[in-house]
Symmetry: C2
Amino acid sequence: MMKIQDIIARKRDKGSHSQEELSWLVQAALNGEATDYQLAAWLMAAYLNGLNEDETAWLTLAMACSGERLDLSSLPGPWVDKHSTGGVGDKTTLVVLPMLTACGLTTVKMSGRGLGITGGTLDKLSSVPGFRMDLTPQEMIEQAKRVGVVLSGQTPLLAPADKILYALRDATATVDSIPLIVASVLSKKIAGGAETIVLDVKCGSGAFMESYKEACALADMLSETARHCGINVRIVITDMSQPLGSMIGNALEVQEMVSVLRGETKGRFVELCVDMVGLTLYASGVVESLEVGEQKALESLTSGRALEKARIWFEAQGAPGDFFEKPDKYLPKAPVVFSQCYEGRAGWIQKWDARAVGETVVDLGGGRRHKEDTIDVSVGIRSFIEVGSKVERGTPLFEVHAKDLPSAEKVAERLARAIAVSETPVQPQSVFLRGLE
Amino acid sequence: MMKIQDIIARKRDKGSHSQEELSWLVQAALNGEATDYQLAAWLMAAYLNGLNEDETAWLTLAMACSGERLDLSSLPGPWVDKHSTGGVGDKTTLVVLPMLTACGLTTVKMSGRGLGITGGTLDKLSSVPGFRMDLTPQEMIEQAKRVGVVLSGQTPLLAPADKILYALRDATATVDSIPLIVASVLSKKIAGGAETIVLDVKCGSGAFMESYKEACALADMLSETARHCGINVRIVITDMSQPLGSMIGNALEVQEMVSVLRGETKGRFVELCVDMVGLTLYASGVVESLEVGEQKALESLTSGRALEKARIWFEAQGAPGDFFEKPDKYLPKAPVVFSQCYEGRAGWIQKWDARAVGETVVDLGGGRRHKEDTIDVSVGIRSFIEVGSKVERGTPLFEVHAKDLPSAEKVAERLARAIAVSETPVQPQSVFLRGLE
């Protein structure tokens, strides 16, 4: 008979767990045989002494099997999913989902809420009137069958053990452990029924992994563990040292989604979406090369087919039928928009710090400090610059969308300090740091 | 404002806590601002990354001040206390208390229950009919004033934070951390009002600290922390590789107490008691040298004054008036007594493994595997040997006092394997391994 104290002691003493032990631990977390405080002690031991590749895969599988598993067998394959480790202005899912659908894939996706500087897809979509995100597994499958795409909140029925452990990690300073992150991410994807997963590990000041080295460590363990669990996985590392796209803040990001799908926007964010879709098509065997995948992805945008799929998708989930024609009619707007222009010597943007931008959105009330906080979806930042942009006196830098002028001015001051300008031209780095080859 | 997550993260990252942080942590444990699972995560981080001397002293003081403090000001000084880290057959407190009282000190002592192979004074005394161990602080002070000696269970009013943390440590495999042990031991002693404490760190297979090196580490940290907290402390390390005295088991150990106080017993255990009392008298400044202290201690036994004090003490706490005349009338007896004689080649006892003896007492039902277990105070082992004893075919080795014959026989087999005999004479090591100089 297993005892939780023995399992804790094994990890405390730098030992390795058997598959049986980790399965038992996950079951004990669910049925209450292991108390919250015993799980917390184990989590800290695992945080400090690590989990090896086998242990991480076993924990992942045990958590994936801890509840229901989404049965996609009635949907046409390949069953793909994407995941981003989260960043500032990262609304990739909103654009990529209708693009993938337009390219013929059926996409079933579960997303979460944001915490800290990292936004969450559910928060962004909560700015769309009527959009339902509490679909049951059955409703999800039915909608995916009918319109080819569905997105909902993480149902508590899938990977419930992850929910328990994550809540404890959040409260006990054990979130940023690579094996625990890997098991949490992959267990939910596996329970969601995915065969092929494209993972975007964000790297930079606005991401969880600030250094390239850390991002590689996370990417490698995700990759190893996924393979160990029998999942086809492709992992990219992308830049998060500056905000992604021009809008940061929930309703503003939905507005940017509309603009991209309408073909009104170009730039790094659109590039990233096209490349991610191309990679997904290639990874899942739908096209024979990455180039063909990217071409198909681009066509889904330029042809308007992705926009059309988005329209159908949103309507299926309860959004107004003319949402994509008149987003301004529906998206909440902040009462104050404060514009900031450049006032210094002419030059090139060398730094536009993603972390500072993310933190100011939290300060404005658009992000959560604690899980239980409510947020104001109307506030945020619109950026007119990116690294490499030429600026001179009077060039617009950003707009602050805020609930009042004092908070807008305060934030604008802080943002001005998040920008560094070089006197010589700056060559921006590619948004893909690794993995797109 | 402090946040528990930040405190956990500091220890997780091998940082050092400020006194303010540790005071806050202890208060947060009491008022619920820190949850059990957050405390458990911190305990594991402290277990793995350690606490330095300052941190240990600050934690000790914060726990000592977490509830009431026993006010000994109405009692004559010096206020002394003794503590043993626990071992097999360790009934030292029962003998030392009346000896100290006979030597003129007023002794107020709180004791605990046993767990695992380590016996507890409260369990031993629970075999004495009528003996009350749930005295209030006020009752303790009054009895100490009246008869000079009192012993009771740890009141939940003193050092309540220690109670909370200890229960969590027990459940989360974080018991055997030297700084956490030190803070737990000393916080209770300080809350109990002691000025001078004599600490007996047991070392050997029957003790918590099996190696001399570990015992020294614990002794040194106890010593440093006590000094840091302004407590006069003397620490000895004593041998626990073989059982202490000839009786192991609750009622049996009370029987041995009676026998020692009556002057019917000699040997290592009596030596230990005399030396501990002598050391306490010397450490608290009552006598000018250790030798004089030991002489006074011995006289308290030979004169019968310690026995007389024990009689008054027991009666004051509710035991029968003739308990020390007729202990057999009152102490519960096991239904089966199984005697084992030596059957091998003549020689000298080289090993009489304390751990094995302690474990067999637990097996017999005389000790707890889990805190909530009930125990049978009548069972136990009577030993006729010690390391260095000469044995030949037919020499009595031990008696097993058990609830039935099968369990007695099973235990006897196991005990036989706990004995090693040498063909050449064996010189036993002194019971004092360090500190009595």
